[in-house]
């Protein structure tokens, strides 16, 4: 399936771009992050992040669907 991944903040800098479209066989958001971390060397483990799929927060075991917009959320620091 194809998913659209957007990167923000530290992940954007570590990946060197703000988003990409990826072909993946990973079934869950967690599997996708761990695969991408393995490829790109993201410094933060999944347990420090949250995940948003199609603009809603979801659990890490959320099943991916073709065309999903996936955003991994590093620790926030607003305010």
């Amino acid at each position: 399936m194809t998913v659209h991944v957007a990167y923000f903040a530290i992940l954007r800098e570590e990946r060197g771009c703000s988003g990409e479209t990826i072909e993946t066989t990973e079934a869950t958001a967690l599997g996708l992050y761990n695969a991408l971390r393995g490829t790109h060397g993201f410094s933060l483990p999944a347990d420090r992040l949250k995940v948003v799929i199609n603009e809603e927060f979801q659990p890490w075991d959320h099943a991916l669907s073709d065309g999903d917009a996936v955003v991994f959320i590093p620790p926030v620091a607003g305010g």
Binding site: F8, A9, V71, V76, G78
Partner: protein, 150 residues
């Protein structure tokens, strides 16, 4: 109303939106860029937001505040972009019949905003270094060497 602003926040515009005949109290909070964090001299910072989700989550926080506290109006604006010392990073305004609910709701909104909004802060330090706050691979308390007295 919650919004993200890439330009300086003008509280006077949003203040007017809080006015209601039944409101006898108004509490506002301004978050400013401070010159030190964790002992390091800060010269400027950048806020980056996932705007679509930040607005959704911000509206949820305001709705929760309306459910929990007897308030009339609530507004929160968060800046993104490059900010200098003293710039306003966030503005919260709450109006209510009485001051108790206005103080409580204002506190609730800023606390939840800091915890939940997908907004990130990169601090630039006097020594030229910079850092995404809360994003160290090893939590700060462990990464920083502890200096024992004596």
């Amino acid at each position: 109303m919650f919004s993200i602003s890439a330009v300086p926040i003008d509280p006077s515009i949003h203040h007017a939106a809080l006015r209601e005949p039944a409101a006898g109290a108004c509490v506002t909070f301004e978050g400013w860029v401070r010159n030190r964090n964790e002992g390091r001299a800060v010269v400027s910072l950048e806020y980056e937001g996932y705007d679509a989700v930040a607005v959704k989550e911000g509206e949820r926080i305001l709705a929760e505040a309306r459910e929990r506290f007897a308030i009339a109006g609530a507004v929160c604006i968060h800046r993104t972009g490059h900010l200098r010392l003293g710039d306003m990073a966030v503005w919260v305004g709450v109006s209510a019949g009485h001051r108790g609910a206005a103080f409580d709701a204002c506190r609730y909104i800023i606390d939840e905003t800091k915890l939940r909004l997908p907004i990130w802060k990169k601090e630039h330090y006097e020594d030229g270094d910079s850092e995404w706050i809360n994003c160290q691979a090893v939590p700060t308390a462990i990464a920083r060497p502890v200096t024992l007295p004596g």
